[in-house]
Amino acid sequence: MTLRRFDIMVNGKPVSVRSGSTVAAALLSADQSTFRQSVAGELRGPVCGMGICYECRVTINDVAQQRACLRVVESGMRVETGAAGA
């Protein structure tokens, strides 16, 4: 079954995603492995895949600290990753 693809904006650039993907899965599929920086500035990405670890937090449509593994991609979505300190 072929799934519809569309683009979302990630850090200002268009990224092709599969309809129904979570933001986390879509970013990982697009080789975006860094989602955020830790308190001490380490690069981090998703770990638990189920909303427990909070390592996949990104900014979605200007609202910060959202767990990417619990959000499904939507047309027009803007995602920002890896902001220093967040």
Partner: protein, 380 residues
């Protein structure tokens, strides 16, 4: 009290920030200090408060004491480690209405009289300084030298100074009684020339007659929002809330943490030792916060907790000798200013023990004032 020979003993009951500060000051003066805590350092009020170092002008005495103590914090800063998280972010006292705006200049002058730098800023400057605030606020008083710290970290740093000076800290030491020149711990009686009751909200259990009652507060902390809050921010109504011994009140007070988290307070209520969450009051507190700082609405609250401030009826702490018991000094009743006032409290006590003239007049804080007044009614 006469100056004592080096090597004499002092016991401090309570390893919160006040006890740790007293121990550090005494150990610097050559006392062999033992700090006793029934649990562990900072386990009491120190671990649950806001960690502000803030100059308050609710009375001339408080102004003198907080200004002095804030200066001592700045002087101590080079000896603090990263775990103290000392951040000189300053305080903004915000004006919501014309009456408060008009009061800012007088407040600035009051601070100036105590040599505390302060500046009145207008609404545009306030919006630039703190874009997360409600944009129709009229202005603020900026006190740039105020700071925030992480109290458990600072307490540990102070206790390290005690240990460097040959002192000791004992966890799990439940002091049952303070006696003349000593304390009873379990079946032991430990003797000391000096005993300091720094047992926080539990101080009256050891020194009956101390008019200290627990005044409960709520706090909430958010996830990380870098740059959303740059200063400690307090509403001018905070002083009214801190003063009124009414049943419940809230007053807006937020503080940034270096991670970008925002600590949100404050609430006050008198409910004995009931530490359970008061959801209605918490909601009121958060509503006030969202009202004054709309940017907070969308922030994620990751923890909420309660704690007890040690409150006195006349809003001033109890710092000094308690002549009812030989060798006993009291360092308590700081209400919401324990962190700020810990260092000045310690210095006033150390100075008086050493026979030095304290930098500020200690008499308004003398615990003996309690015995000279009409007994205060017990609080519910």
């Amino acid at each position: 009290m006469t100056a004592r020979a080096s090597g004499s003993d002092a016991i401090v009951v309570g390893a919160g920030i006040v006890g740790a500060s007293c121990a550090a000051a005494l150990s610097r003066d050559g006392w062999r200090v033992t700090v006793l805590d029934r649990a562990f350092a900072s386990a009491g009020t120190t671990s649950v408060g806001m960690g502000h170092v803030v100059v308050m002008d609710d009375s001339p005495e408080q102004l003198a004491l907080t200004a002095y103590s804030a200066r001592l914090w700045r002087e101590l800063r080079p000896q603090l480690t990263k775990r103290s998280e000392y951040d000189a972010c300053g305080t903004l006292w915000i004006a919501e209405n014309a009456e408060q705006l008009a009061a800012l200049e007088g407040k600035r002058a009051t601070y100036a009289s105590a040599n505390v730098r302060a500046e009145v800023i207008d609404s545009r400057a306030l919006r630039d300084a703190e874009p997360g605030l409600r944009t129709d606020l009229l202005g603020a008083l900026l006190v740039p030298d105020d700071a925030v710290i992480y109290p458990p970290g600072a307490t540990l740093d102070l206790l390290d100074l005690v240990k460097q000076n040959g002192g000791a800290v004992r966890d799990g030491a439940d002091v049952r009684a303070i006696v003349d020149h000593g304390v009873v711990v379990g079946s032991e009686t430990l003797r000391a020339d000096v005993v300091v009751n720094a047992a926080g909200a539990a101080a009256p259990a050891l020194t009956p007659g101390l008019p200290i009652v627990p005044r409960k507060g709520h706090l909430a902390i958010t996830d990380r929002y870098p740059d959303m809050c740059r200063h400690q921010i307090v509403e001018l109504g905070y002083l009214t809330s801190a003063h009124a011994m009414t049943s419940e009140s809230v007053a807006f007070n937020v503080q940034p943490r270096s991670t970008g988290q925002i600590l949100i307070g404050s609430s006050r209520e008198l409910v004995g030792w009931d530490a359970s969450l008061n959801r209605a009051l918490l909601q009121q507190m958060l509503k006030r916060a969202a009202d004054l700082m709309p940017a907070l609405r969308d922030t994620s609250i990751i923890r909420v907790w309660t704690g007890f401030r040690p409150a006195t009826p006349d809003k001033l702490p109890l710092i000094g000798a308690w002549e009812q018991s030989a060798g006993l000094w009291v360092a308590g009743g700081h209400e919401g200013l324990g962190i700020t006032l810990s260092l000045a409290t310690a210095q006033l006590i150390a100075d008086q023990i050493a026979g030095r003239k304290p930098v500020i007049d200690p008499s308004p804080f003398s615990p003996m004032r309690v015995l000279l007044q009409i007994p205060v009614e017990a609080h519910s």
